[in-house]
């Protein structure tokens, strides 16, 4: 018969599509990290003194911290002195004032990635901020957003224009000393996005940031801060890609979300950093701290993530449910193929009364991939009437991969209702044969079955992203049947 292990193995080898390198002159500081590098970054960004001091405090703290080793991942030691902490495309003038001044090569790069920055070629209704290596290169739709009172700009611009907002909110959800990678990020972060939605405003379009690591031997340390003031609403999307390189590159981002009374933030991620090759050479270390604070009553924060890339993914988008009746959600699809490793999940910290949280995690392991769900549901004594529902499903493809679940619960209030469901399943030969007998190719059959498995998460994504996520999943899985 025509189907055999060999065919399957041949199929696995589809290449990473975003693996090109843009040939562009960049201004990169030499590798290494000490106080002078931090002063240099801060100086290049013309930062106010408070921010420099903030960075330096974070750096001092970082120096005292050990690298964490509790995650279920195997990781080669990272030489923090071998990384360059700042890389920016060289600008011909003092920086682009509009899209026309942006290096055409950069625009071409984003075109290749399918992100039309030019407003006339735009994705209808999505405003895009694009971060290339360490700096933000363009933000579209600025005027329309401004008319609505929405601030959406590169982080470095926010430092200049809205320092008082930054000083008020920065680091209030993820403190600089929160964890090893958050501390490193706080010391050396270079850019990212800042969003502020004023009281009562419903953001008129989806906001989106695309991150791209281009230069070799650099790390990407961006910082995103989203503040939704009382009664406001925003949906934010982020996407990520990187060229194929043989060495591992570090991506240590921090995302902070703040939702005041009756505000809602929906944050969606499609992460497709370079995963390394089939032997596990190269790939991005994706060590990210994401946390949302439902500060006000009836606030809602919803995380949706589709994690298909990176050699190692290590992130736990979390919600602090401080306001009474506030709601936290976490919907996740994490896929590991070849030698990829993922240790991901969430923390739901119930502080306010009648707070509710939902966790839906779908882990897909193929090849020799290792996939771990790690989650904490914590009900504090004051969280009267708190509820949580956790559903944690794993799908295994082949016999060399692994799925692991580490659910933690700390219940401090007897009125809490906490539910946990978990399943593990395999794509069976019989399912594949059934689909093929109906005329559907093996690859399409796998995609169909995997998409069926992920349905509950995909339906949380905005339309354009849901389509992209499905395509991405099928590319990442190609031939991963064993």
């Amino acid at each position: 018969m025509a189907t055999g292990q060999q065919d399957v193995e041949q199929l696995v080898a589809r290449k990473y599509r975003h693996g090109f390198v843009t040939d562009i002159e960049s201004d990169t500081v030499p590798p290494g990290l000490d106080e002078s590098v931090i002063r240099l970054i801060s100086h290049k960004k013309k930062e106010p003194e408070f921010l420099l001091q903030w960075r330096l405090r974070a750096f001092e703290h970082w120096l005292t911290m050990p690298e964490p080793d509790w995650a279920h991942v195997r990781i080669a030691p990272i030489d923090y002195q071998a990384i360059s902490y700042y890389s920016a495309p060289k600008k011909k003038t003092d920086g682009p004032k509009s899209l026309d001044e942006v290096d055409p090569k950069l625009l071409e790069t984003y075109d290749k990635l399918g992100i039309p920055l030019h407003e006339r070629a735009r994705l209808a209704g999505v405003a895009v901020d694009a971060v290339f290596d360490s700096v933000s290169v363009a933000t579209t739709f600025k005027q329309k957003l401004k008319d609505a009172g929405v601030i959406f700009c590169p982080f470095s611009e926010a430092v200049q224009e809205y320092p008082e907002l930054l000083e008020k909110y920065l680091g209030t959800v993820v403190p600089p000393g929160d964890n090893f990678f958050a501390a490193l990020n706080s010391a050396v972060f270079t850019d990212g996005s800042f969003v502020y939605i004023p009281k009562g405003v419903r953001c008129p379009m989806e906001l989106s940031t695309y991150f791209r690591i281009n230069a070799a031997n650099t790390g990407q340390f961006e910082r995103t801060l989203i503040v939704a003031d009382e009664g406001s609403h925003v949906s934010y999307l982020e996407g990520c890609t990187a060229p194929m390189r043989d060495e591992n590159q570090l991506h240590a981002a921090v995302v902070e979300l703040i939702a005041e009374d009756d505000a809602e933030i929906k944050y969606s991620t499609v992460q497709n950093w370079y995963p390394g090759d089939e032997n596990g050479v190269g790939g991005i270390y994706n060590f990210v701290t994401k946390r949302g604070d439902c500060r006000g009553r009836n606030a809602k924060i919803s995380w949706t993530q589709v994690e298909t890339g990176s050699a190692i993914t290590w992130k736990y988008p979390s919600c602090i449910l401080r306001g009474d009746n506030s709601v936290g959600e976490f919907y996740s699809v994490a896929l590991t193929n070849n030698l990829q490793q993922a240790d991901t999940g969430t923390k739901m910290i119930h502080i306010g009364r009648n707070t509710r949280s939902t966790i839906v995690s779908k882990g897909i392991s193929a090849g020799r991939g290792q996939n771990a769900y790690r989650g904490l549901v914590k009900i504090l004594p004051g969280a009267e009437g708190a509820r949580n529902h956790t559903q944690c499903d794993s799908l295994l493809m082949g016999s060399d991969c692994g799925a692991h679940t580490f659910p933690y619960m700390e219940i401090g209030n007897p009125t809490a209702v906490v539910e946990h469901e978990a399943t593990t399943s395999k794509i069976s030969d019989e399912q594949l044969f059934y689909c093929r007998q109906r005329g559907i190719s093996e690859e399409d059959a796998v995609n169909m079955i995997v998409n069926g498995f992920c349905k509950e998460v995909f339906r949380e994504l905005p339309m354009e992203f849901a389509v992209e996520a499905q395509n991405l999943l099928s590319v990442s899985l190609e031939g991963a049947v064993g």
Partner: protein, 251 residues
């Protein structure tokens, strides 16, 4: 339509088909009967290209081409349909979604345009009436939580939508009560046509009261030991399979 010559096939280390010959002409309905373990389902599996079966000898020619040379999905697109004895559940995958993907794969292969959602739904609803199936079938997962009868009806629904040239029905009657059997048989009968052939694998002749075959073959120990008309099935019903087994040995 279908010409099988000296077919030998094994599952793992076990030889199951041992020199099977069968000729099926256009529009003909052939019943394959035989005791348990005689190789009926293996024959159905080999025709559909089940990956865990290995053909060691012989040829299968389907509409002039070497069927054994084709992948299962290619056979399906060329018009070979297998109604499974035990249709598998695929949780989360919409029943109607799978069917649409299947139909469009077949149409694409034939050089026809893919049906849009409206055309497709109209077609499916029409065929569902035939199989006396409610709309709720459409949005359930493939065979997910279906009763035995529902699964078999779903198989014939798929066949009615895909309109194959060669349908292989593997014990479609097993696990059906008499009412469900009639519905399924009606569905199958409505699909009989001068250019559609059927191979109906069954253990009991009961099904053949409703789907009346042109030929009945008795399979024993991996070979066809007797061929006749409809009356052969009735004879088997009366006398069991043992007398044939003896006959096979004597021959």
């Amino acid at each position: 339509m279908l010409s099988i010559k000296n077919l030998h096939a094994r599952a793992g280390e076990r030889d199951i088909l041992k020199g099977l010959d069968l000729e099926v002409g256009p529009g003909e309905v052939h019943a394959i009967m035989g005791p348990n373990g005689s190789g009926k389902s293996t024959l159905a599996g080999v025709l559909a290209g089940r990956p865990d079966l290995e053909v060691t000898e012989g040829t299968v020619t389907y509409r002039g081409q070497d069927l054994l040379d084709l992948d299962p999905e290619e056979r399906a697109r060329e018009g070979v349909f297998l109604a499974f004895q035990y249709p598998v559940e695929i949780p989360g995958v919409n029943n109607v979604y799978l069917l649409k993907a299947a139909l469009n794969a077949v149409r694409k292969h034939r050089g026809e345009s893919e049906l849009d959602a409206f055309e497709f739904l109209a077609l499916v609803k029409d065929r569902m009436k035939l199989m006396q199936m409610g709309d709720s079938f459409l949005n359930r997962g493939v065979n997910e939580g279906f009763s035995g009868g529902e699964k078999k009806r779903n198989e014939i629904l798929q066949m009615a939508v895909l309109e194959p040239a060669l349908a292989v029905l593997d014990e479609t009657d097993s696990g059906l009560d008499i009412d469900a059997l009639k519905v399924v048989a009606n569905g199958v009968n409505s699909l009989r046509s001068p250019d559609r052939s059927m191979v109906v694998v069954t253990h009991y002749q009961r099904l053949l009261d409703y789907i009346v075959p042109d030929f009945v073959h008795v399979l024993s120990d991996g070979r066809i030991v007797r061929t006749g008309g409809r009356e052969l099935a009735l004879e088997l019903e009366e006398r069991g399979y043992d007398w044939l087994r003896g006959g096979a040995n004597a021959a």
